[in-house]
């Protein structure tokens, strides 16, 4: 499969501010994201996750190296719009990304910006709202919706631009468990049914476990990269970086420390229960 995003020798330094020297976030980062994949990016605060995400649609431009999105160089200022149509971004606080005071008007904001004709905007808005399950709320005022609903409206606003890839920067950090589940289901569905590439930046290990590939960033470098099972079974490495594995893996790992011979690839409570059951049987 071809790569939708490829990061080549990326270097990035935050510009100097008020005499304070800028910080170097990346020195030489290489990374590719396959078209149609579901990738989770993990890391502690300040490891450069959000900075990396902002490189994916020309919000930040590399200080060195290149970022290509669908073959387009993101630093090519003439093609910024093409990059942004290809990669949509969803941020942490849904309140700060909703522009209009009616749900459907907000979803229409993106297509309106790129000059889509009125009937086509209508079609895209309805389609996007149905995909995130917010169609019945199309005439509501956003401030009366719950956090999870607002975040789904924000996702609809992004997919109305029909991007090939969406980047979600901690989309569930401000949501309650129910809102989190709804948002994760929506994202998962978009990836599975529409083939939209999903890059999910998160702090929640159980969310990362739902991805098909997990990348762990540490101090601007890739510390681990692989399937959730491969990455999360390296529990000691995760601990050293200040991260944790999903609860089920942590449990198996803790039991292993006590001398029980359990596998470390149980990512869900069900798999964990099965592993314990199998172990008890032997």
């Amino acid at each position: 499969m071809e790569d939708i995003i490829s990061v080549e020798h990326l270097a990035y330094v935050y510009p100097d501010l008020d005499g304070q020297k800028g910080t170097q976030v990346f020195e030489n980062l290489n990374l590719t994201i396959e078209s149609g994949s579901f990738v989770a990016i993990l890391g502690t605060n300040g490891c450069g996750k959000s900075t990396l995400a902002k490189h994916f649609n020309s919000i930040l431009l590399p200080s060195g190296g290149k970022v290509y999105v669908d073959g387009i160089d993101t630093s090519d200022l003439n093609r910024v719009m093409a990059v942004r149509r290809c990669v949509g971004m969803v941020f942490q606080n849904p309140d700060n990304q909703i522009v209009a005071n009616v749900v459907e008007e907000d979803v229409a904001f993106g297509p309106e910006n790129i000059g889509v004709a009125a009937p086509e905007i209508r079609r895209r808005v309805d389609k996007a709202l149905k995909q995130v399950g917010m169609y019945e709320y199309r005439e509501h005022a956003p401030h009366l919706l719950s956090g999870g609903q607002k975040q789904r409206v924000a996702i609809a606003g992004v997919i109305a631009l029909e991007p090939k890839c969406i980047v979600l920067d901690e989309p569930t950090a401000m949501l309650d468990p129910r809102g989190r589940r709804d948002v994760m289901e929506t994202v998962e569905k978009l990836n599975r049914e529409k083939g939209i590439t999903v890059v999910l930046i998160t702090h929640h290990m159980d969310e990362a476990a739902q991805a098909r590939r997990v990348i762990v960033l540490d101090k601007g470098k890739v510390a681990a990269d692989g399937t959730p099972k491969q990455v999360f079974s390296q529990v000691e490495m995760l601990h050293k970086l200040g991260l944790a594995a999903p609860d089920s893996v942590e449990l198996c790992w803790a039991l292993r420390q006590k001398g029980f011979d359990l596998p470390l690839d149980a990512l869900t409570p069900e798999e964990c229960a099965q592993a314990l059951y199998d172990w008890l049987k032997t």
């Binding site: 719009m81 942004r84 700060n96 522009v99 209009a100 229409a108 309106e112 009125a118 401030h143 992004v158």
Partner: protein, 268 residues
């Protein structure tokens, strides 16, 4: 307590007036005001008043809410009335106390001017009561469109208005939260002199401003991510279109102005 603030005083509804194009309503109010100021006699006032009552009854806005909307303006009304009452000469002297005289002319003028203001305000209320803020902004943007040629940033202005309206409830909620947080730490907003209370608001306003700037920054990034690049080449999902009712409305208003103007021509 802050939740009670209503904005734009919009009453959602489905009446003919609600469904008129916002541009029609904006221009309509201007035409109505022209008619009102052309009216010079009680007869033409009666015509304008009849038109107003007809419009209000069609809009199905409860007259009570229009009356209650007048409350903050009572001072201005009384001021106008009293001023006209005492400062007009001519006519028969009705009452004379010390140096103040009330003449019949003064009384008529007082009633005339206050009812003009009352009718003026009721007319504009009809606009804000039947038009959602977002429709108003759209209408304004479209009406002011020609000014773009004179480099007036019409789109930017309407975008700003739209975002301001969108964030008012969010910021009210936030203010409530900050006030509660300060109250929990012993701040007192209800007691003391006006100066004390104003001082107590400073620790609310500072975090509110900081958060508003942070929000603005995030919103700007989110808008950029959604391909926003100003009004150039932008389309609209909901196009404003004049319908049959709009022509009737314009017809009615033109007739109103014509009748009032003819009456004025006859010195009435």
């Amino acid at each position: 307590m802050l939740k009670d603030i209503t904005l734009g005083q919009y009453f959602p509804g489905t009446s003919v007036i609600h469904r008129l194009d916002p541009r029609t309503k904006l221009l309509g109010v201007i035409l109505y005001i022209v008619a009102l100021f052309l009216a010079k006699s009680w007869i033409s006032y009666g015509v304008v008043l009849a038109f107003l009552i007809l419009a209000i009854s069609v809009s199905k806005i409860p007259p009570k809410s229009i009356v209650s909307g007048m409350k903050p303006l009572v001072v201005i009304l009384i001021f106008t009335g009293v001023l006209n009452l005492f400062y007009s000469d001519g006519g028969v002297v009705l009452v004379k106390i010390w140096k103040l005289t009330i003449t019949s002319e003064g009384l008529t003028r007082a009633i005339f001017m206050t009812s003009r203001i009352l009718m003026l305000i009721s007319g504009t209320f009809l606009l804000t009561y039947t038009t959602s803020p977002i429709a108003l902004t759209d209408g304004l943007e479209s009406l002011l469109g020609p000014l773009k040629k004179l480099h007036v940033p019409v789109h930017e202005l309407s975008m700003m208005m739209c975002i301001a309206l969108r964030f008012i409830p969010t910021l009210i909620e936030e203010t409530d939260k900050i006030m509660n947080a300060q109250k929990a730490r012993g701040a007192d907003f209800e007691n003391g002199s006006i100066i004390d209370r104003a001082k107590a608001l400073i620790p609310v306003l500072v975090p509110l401003f900081i958060s508003a700037f942070r929000r603005a920054d995030e919103l700007a990034t989110a808008m950029e991510c959604r391909c926003y690049q100003g009004g150039e080449g932008r389309t609209k999902m909901k196009l404003l279109r004049y319908g049959r009712n709009d022509f009737y409305a314009f017809g009615g208003l033109t007739a109103l102005i014509a009748v009032v103007a003819v009456l004025a021509g006859f010195g009435l």
